[in-house]
Symmetry: C2
Subunit: 433 residues, 2 copies
């Protein structure tokens, strides 16, 4: 099969190209037939463009090919751009060649927006569902988000690393892990790169990782998945306040870049993204409990703030905001207590859309304190021997955070279900496609 190479995305066909020959490729979105003229809407990842086929003015072969087209046939089209006062985009293309490179049967689900399909069915036919233009937008935005995150972190002197996902020890204790048969040994899928990234502060100082993470929890909510993408940073010679500022920069850059790149497209779907400003409001855990108490939600000191509590706080405070100074016992063993009051920790959560998007802290960097913290949580320091080793050799004070990429995307793009922003989600019951 031979066909010319795509030269332009549909969105790049502008009236300025009037008279130019271009090659487009994509799928037949719609066909309007008015006798001797056919208007074919061609969709690619970047948008739609009108192809105008007039009988008599095009080669007979083009006319007959165009006449045989069905929705979602994949085609490659060579043609001349004409600016137009009638076509929606101010421009149309008059084809001189139309190559049908793949035929489409009638789709199992609607992608045109005339019929609502439930999410379960859409996920079952996910690779068809992804043809919906809103999905192109969601995953283009997703790519832009990771790019914006990385650029912010490079600017702050961070380098990207990859740490192993097959591990022998639970990172935090508590969370349930998936087991892997690693040759003769039983191993686990990492729930986070926590211990590795901390170790790396002793050499590479500022590092980040964007990689899959796994929790074998039986949650089945709109905002939990069993496989997710975790954005993790860790910085030497820094504390929780320092890395909160970096997180602010990351979030602001993400909103700004997505707005710049996709504002018009998002607006078509009624998705409005308001750029947040620095500094994000910070309230302490104690203040949060007070606020919630006044709104009738009583939480005992030492308990975590539940989802509905986060939602109430979001309303009261405006978003994004930080909750800081959680009770030390609520957080993982590596969390540093306040020097002035060890019941409380140098910790924070970032909340957007009533959801915990990121979570971080200053870390304990003194071996004896860390060993003690492990014991206090019923964990055996001997299982952490490989990790504890580096604390003997100039382990710097350090701090960091982990952010759920899909949660950020979910609140950014105002989706109700986290599965909307994941190509092929893995949840309690979903392992395919």
């Amino acid at each position: 099969m031979s066909f010319p190479r795509k030269t332009h995305w549909t969105k790049n066909i502008t009236p300025e190209l009037d008279g130019k020959e271009v090659v487009l490729a994509g799928w037949v979105w719609d066909i309007r037939d008015i006798g001797n003229i056919k208007f074919i809407l061609l969709r690619d990842r970047e948008g739609l463009i009108q192809l105008t086929v007039k009988r008599g003015t095009v080669p007979e072969e083009v006319w007959s090919t165009a006449s045989s087209l069905n929705r979602e046939d994949a085609i490659v089209v060579k043609g001349i751009v004409k600016s137009s006062r009638i076509a929606k985009a101010g421009v149309e293309v008059f084809p001189s060649e139309v190559h049908i490179v793949a035929r489409s049967k009638a789709l199992p689900i609607d992608i045109w927006g005339s019929v609502e399909t439930d999410l379960d069915t859409r996920l079952k036919y996910r690779s068809v569902d992804l043809k919906r233009p809103l999905n192109s937008l969601i995953f283009k935005a997703g790519s832009e988000v990771t790019r914006a995150v990385r650029d912010s972190l490079y600017n702050h002197g961070f380098i990207e690393v990859f740490t192993p996902k097959i591990i022998v020890t639970s990172t935090e204790g508590g969370a349930e892990l998936f087991t892997v048969q690693y040759f003769e040994r039983v191993a686990y899928l990492a729930q986070s790169p926590q211990l590795y990234k901390e170790e790396l502060t002793a050499s590479l100082e500022r590092i980040f990782e964007i990689a899959p993470a796994y929790r074998a929890e039986k949650h089945n909510t709109n905002y939990h998945l069993n496989e997710f993408i975790s954005v993790d940073i860790e910085e030497a010679f820094a504390n929780y306040m320092d890395v909160m500022e970096i997180l602010e920069d990351v979030i602001i850059n993400v909103y700004d870049r997505v707005n710049k790149a996709f504002n018009d497209e998002l607006n078509k779907y009624g998705i409005e993204i308001k750029n947040p400003r620095k500094p994000f409001r910070r309230i302490t855990y104690d203040e949060a409990l007070d606020m919630l108490g006044k709104r009738g939600l009583k939480i005992d000191w030492g308990e975590d703030v539940p989802k509905n509590g986060m939602e109430i706080l979001s309303e009261e405070i405006g978003e994004p905001f930080f909750i800081i100074h959680f009770p030390t016992d609520l957080r993982a063993f590596y969390t540093k207590p306040l020097d002035s009051d060890p019941r409380i920790s140098e910790s924070f959560d970032l909340v957007i859309g009533g959801l915990e998007i990121a979570s971080g802290s200053s870390r304990v960097h003194v071996k004896e304190q860390l060993t003690e913290a492990l014991r206090k949580r019923g964990l055996n320091p001997e299982s952490f021997e490989n990790h504890l080793m580096i604390y003997d050799y100039g382990m710097p004070p350090h701090a960091g955070w982990g952010m759920g990429l899909y949660r950020l995307l979910m609140v950014l793009l105002r989706r109700d279900n986290i599965r909307e922003v994941v190509l092929y989600p893995r949840d309690r019951f979903r392992l395919e496609p």
Copy 2:
């Protein structure tokens, strides 16, 4: 513990900062003591700088702190920059504050280069080993490589995606997989994102992923690992020649960017990186067999080119080069045969340093052909039902490649063992640290 925030990396302390106050942070690399003057070499991720402490001119507290320092103690230093004709970097820093933030015991392995340590021992103490300046360089270069790869791909209109690493079906058959217990079900760790990335060409058209991949093979060589980072791209409406050009651009950008960023540092270690030029030489599989036969290495048609064959070809041809048109039966089921001779496929390998760095092809995009190819390889099309579904709905012709990130780093930085370029490698017998 309170100390000021690091303001500069050591490498950014230049004579132009003469007279300025700066805050540095890092580790004590070496101490020279000449009576009333101590020269302390401070190391951070970016290099070394001399701290000059003169008794009498510094506060007595700074003198006594400086006197107590040991190698690899982690310190934060506030001081004044002075340009200097004597100090190596043309600059030194006179401390006004020295904060010891963590003490170091004597290291279990040498990081100063006076004693050679075998790789096994270094990997055992990996987080200490990473303090070696060459390791900082390797992993900074690694980060720059992924950045360069991504930038090339963004420029070609690719977006970044994440596909699941827990899967139910073997992608290619053949390769051995690690099993995961996923709640009640047995699942596998993905050996590549192959099928997902192909499916995504039907909507997102040009996508890439940089993510972990897993092979449960019992290889234990210098260039195999059981967990590795795979760079994968897939493009709709393209063939193998098109994606080879993209691969050329990626490789050239990688070499160029690493050279620009680290040329001087690399030269110190005798690592020379020669920027390759386009187009890379292409030889067919048949030509490769001829060349090798003339050099006394006989390979039967249909057999793969072995490692020593690749090395001979590298010598003959110069690098990087492509081998194209492998026998169809040698490649995975989704590889497209040549229209003119179906025994041969539209496939390629990229070879650098006698190693297969990347591998790709045009793909079969016609459902019946794909089903037939599965059957021919003894695979059951019913197990691929979820994947085959999209081929009914305008599946475009497409092509792509997968590249081993660590292999690229290994040949780029001229390391003998792939473990040198991996923070915490996973191999046949290594699951910790």
